[in-house]
């Protein structure tokens, strides 16, 4: 028995009726951020209280994915009004239930009209905070798997790729390679066996977009992968996800099982000859496995050491077979593109960077959390409007994008639009979308040292420039931040950074110097103060006594 479009529509209708059958709906965020603030207990308390009062047919409680404003967790949203409540505890449950039908509980309310909610445009996160991630029916009620149906029944693989190409979508994992080109390359590779890999090894410290998407809307990723499988001619997919994200792993497993049971994964999907299966593979704590060839090695059960490219995975990937590797957010964009057309997607964003981008705001900013904005949004708007500015009257110093491979952007460049090219022009990268805001209390030498320590311990150790170079750079930064640097160290730093960038084997080594290069460029005075005056202007570094100096 295979699934038909009528079955799909039927499931959607039943689900919508179920949800619209109650007057009120309370969405409790049960993504990792809010769960760690005990939102699980809050949801339980709502369930208990509602059944105690016998209101099951009047108010529906739903555990949903990330509502975005993690700083204010646990968050809940009451529908149909859309009222947000922040910092909700078990003790607030009765009061909120009492207020339904009357005026909202003012002391807990979190204005839905603030810039944080108003300035966003959601495609990837459209279902986050709306649907129950553990119920496939809820996803289907929001047009889920309609994209897969459209692709399989109404389009040829070539037409699918054409739409993706037309959309202008670029890889959301960091480098921004045009997705359509990648798909074309894999589809053209001549081989009966091909693989699809979803890279969910989100290793950038400071990024949690992929985790939220997998926790809040896993079916969207599965659907994107299946469409990709159809387009390039692959019947097997892997989701490579960090073991550090147990909740995401669990929800992906649940989602795959539901999809198999329903028949949107497996054989003869939607009565076609297309078959597609997905397996989950756990990462084990290696940032370098975000690199395509290291990721492949890891799925093959080996240590994640990259190999020289070419050949690219599109020709020679998993076990030597053509392999398409895209990131979670890239796959999450596919179903909407197929449903609404590439042109619709291409209408959003800037000339060269299309669509929206999810960012994880963290660091010294009021509204830490997850946001999605059109490409080309001004950095200043993200930090000061959506992010709500810097807490405690402190002065903004820099925003770090792209994680350990990215750079620190100073105030003078805040008015630039966020897209791939603009970020590269100021020495940073889009990366996967982590955005760390730093204020005057952050020392840029210390920050550079932090990132270099990261790269040093995440270097796989295969090629010399990265293995020894990161260690030497870290050693120099450590000396400088401890007040033991020599004036010539700045030049040596610059030389080593240049060496790593141009001679390292993989992307990790080639981009590892970026945080140092960008801080040297924009904050050289801070380096000089450490070396010449043995002083940390931000007061973050601990200087050693001069006698100890060499």
């Amino acid at each position: 028995m295979t699934l038909t479009i009528e079955d799909l529509q039927n499931i959607a209708k039943i689900e919508r009726d179920r949800q619209e059958g109650t007057t009120y709906q309370i969405n409790v965020c049960v993504a990792a951020g809010c769960l760690s603030c005990q939102s699980g207990l809050v949801k339980e308390a709502f369930d208990t209280e509602i059944s105690r009062r016998g209101l099951e047919n009047w108010c529906l409680v739903k555990g949903v994915g990330c509502l975005g404003l993690c700083a204010a967790g646990p968050l809940i949203q009451v529908q149909p009004q859309g009222t947000y409540y922040q910092g909700v505890t078990v003790n607030d449950v009765s009061e909120i239930l009492d207020s339904l039908g009357g005026s909202p509980v003012a002391r807990l309310e979190c204005s839905q009209h603030q810039a944080f909610f108003q300035c966003q445009q959601k495609i990837v996160l459209e279902n986050c905070g709306k649907i129950d991630p553990e119920r496939i029916e809820d996803y289907i009620a929001e047009d889920g798997y309609l994209g897969l149906f459209t692709a399989l029944r109404q389009m040829t693989p070539g037409e699918v790729i054409e739409q993706v190409t037309k959309s202008g979508l670029r890889g959301r994992g960091g480098a921004g390679f045009p997705t359509g080109l990648k798909w074309t390359a894999v589809s053209k590779a001549v081989n009966n066996t091909k693989f699809i890999v979803c890279n969910a090894d989100e290793g950038d410290p400071g990024a949690f977009m992929d985790r939220s998407v997998l926790e809040s809307d896993p079916h969207r990723v599965i659907e994107g992968m299946a469409i990709a499988g159809y387009a390039v001619g692959a019947s097997h997919g892997f989701i490579y996800v960090r073991a550090e994200y147990p909740l995401a792993v669990k929800r992906v497993h649940t989602a795959i099982a539901q999809a198999e049971r329903l028949g949107v994964l497996g054989n003869n999907i939607f009565n076609t000859r297309f078959e597609f299966n997905i397996e989950v593979r756990l990462g084990a704590g290696a940032f370098v496995c975000g690199e395509e060839t290291a990721l492949i090695a890891s799925i093959e059960g080996r240590h994640g050491r990259p190999r020289p490219r070419p050949p690219f995975p599109a020709e020679f990937g998993l076990w030597g077979f053509p392999t398409l590797i895209n990131n979670v957010e890239t796959f999450a964009n596919i179903a909407p593109i197929i449903r609404r057309g590439g042109e619709w997607f291409a209408g959003i964003g800037t000339e060269k960077s299309k669509g929206t981008k999810v960012f994880a705001l963290a660091g010294r900013v009021n509204n830490t959390g997850l946001i999605e904005v059109p490409m080309g949004t001004r950095l200043r708007d993200i930090v000061f409007e959506i992010g709500g500015g810097i807490p405690g009257d402190k002065r903004f110093k820099a925003v770090q994008t792209g994680g350990p491979s990215g750079g620190c952007i100073p105030e003078e460049h805040l008015d630039m639009p966020v897209d791939y090219e603009s970020l590269a022009a100021v020495g940073s990268i889009m990366g996967s979308g982590g955005m760390i805001i730093m204020d005057e209390t952050s020392c840029m030498v210390d920050v550079a040292q932090f990132f270099m320590e990261f790269c040093m311990s995440e270097s796989c150790g295969k090629c010399v420039p990265c293995r020894v170079g990161t260690t030497q750079i870290y050693h120099l930064l450590h000396k400088i931040s401890g007040g033991q640097g020599k004036p010539s160290d700045i030049e040596t730093l610059g030389e080593l950074c240049d060496l790593l960038k141009n001679t390292s084997l993989c992307g990790l080594g080639q981009t590892a110097p970026n945080p140092v290069i960008s801080t040297l460029k924009y904050f050289k005075d801070e380096y000089k103060a450490h070396i010449r005056d043995k002083n940390c202007p931000a007061g973050a570094c601990r200087m050693q006594a001069p006698e100890e100096a060499l």
Binding site: P310, F316, S459, G461, P465, R467, Q472, L496
Partner: protein
């Protein structure tokens, strides 16, 4: 239940056509090559010297020491010649100032990494690393030495391993896996803590899988792997077996 994924063999590279011939330039000289030959191979065929460390004729390419980097016109990054295939009309520079400068810095990084004390090394005078320093005109290391703590394992009856002198070229790992077929050696940890190990990081002498063939010792470029009982003058590595074994295995 789903069938477990079985992958019986690796797919072969279909993206390179070995029959095709092409011409390109190395150091302004016109050279011709088969499409599946690396820049390094073609350079050596034409008598152009490019220094190498992890590369070894007869073993798979590792592409990790980065000493064989060359400049390719139109590309900002330098390319390792041991794994880069030429393209028609490509212009390769093997001795530009930029290339020589980077190579020397990389060699200095290698020297700074471990405790290479040439004066008290059994391969002093027969060491690939030492020879590279002379060849590349490296008279000192501008980076601070790291001075890691590394043990010497002399538990094997005939050989010993001194990790202070290891450059992680992994020739030993490859020869043991690809030629001897034992895969006794591998690498543990990562980054600067990487270390070659036998079996479960146990003393070499207690390894169950080591056949004692000594191939790893012979291919080791430095004094990291050596034969016991050999004096400095005697510790010359014998590597003729490698092309010979290759030939014998590929005969009809």
């Amino acid at each position: 239940m789903k069938k477990p994924l079985r992958v019986d063999e690796r797919s072969l590279r279909a993206d390179v056509n070995p029959v095709r011939l092409l011409t390109f330039k190395i150091d302004d000289r016109d050279v011709s090559a088969r499409a599946d030959e690396t820049i390094l191979t073609v350079a050596r065929q034409n008598g152009i010297k490019i220094p190498t460390l992890c590369h070894m004729e007869g073993l798979s390419e590792h592409g990790a020491c980065r000493l064989c980097i060359v400049e390719v016109k139109g590309m900002s990054r330098l390319m390792p010649s041991c794994v880069t295939l030429p393209r028609q009309d490509m212009e390769v520079l093997t001795k530009s100032d930029r290339v020589l400068d980077y190579r020397r810095k990389i060699l200095e990084l290698i020297f700074s990494e471990r405790n290479h004390v040439c004066s008290v090394c059994v391969t002093n005078g027969h060491c690939d690393l030492q020879a590279l320093a002379v060849e590349m005109g490296m008279t000192h290391v501008r980076y601070d030495y790291i001075y890691p703590t590394h043990p010497i394992d002399a538990t094997h009856p005939r050989f010993s391993v001194d990790h202070n002198r290891c450059v992680l070229c992994l020739r030993c790992v490859r020869v043991c896996d690809e030629i001897e077929g034992a895969h006794t050696w591998d690498v543990m940890n990562r980054g600067i803590s990487s270390k070659v190990i036998t079996d479960l990081n146990q003393p070499w002498g207690s390894s169950e899988t080591c056949t004692g063939c000594g191939k790893c010792v012979q291919v080791c470029p430095t004094g990291a792997l050596s034969e016991k009982g050999k004096s400095v003058a005697e510790m010359v590595k014998r590597r003729q077996f490698l092309p010979y074994l290759q030939m014998m295995r590929h005969r009809e």
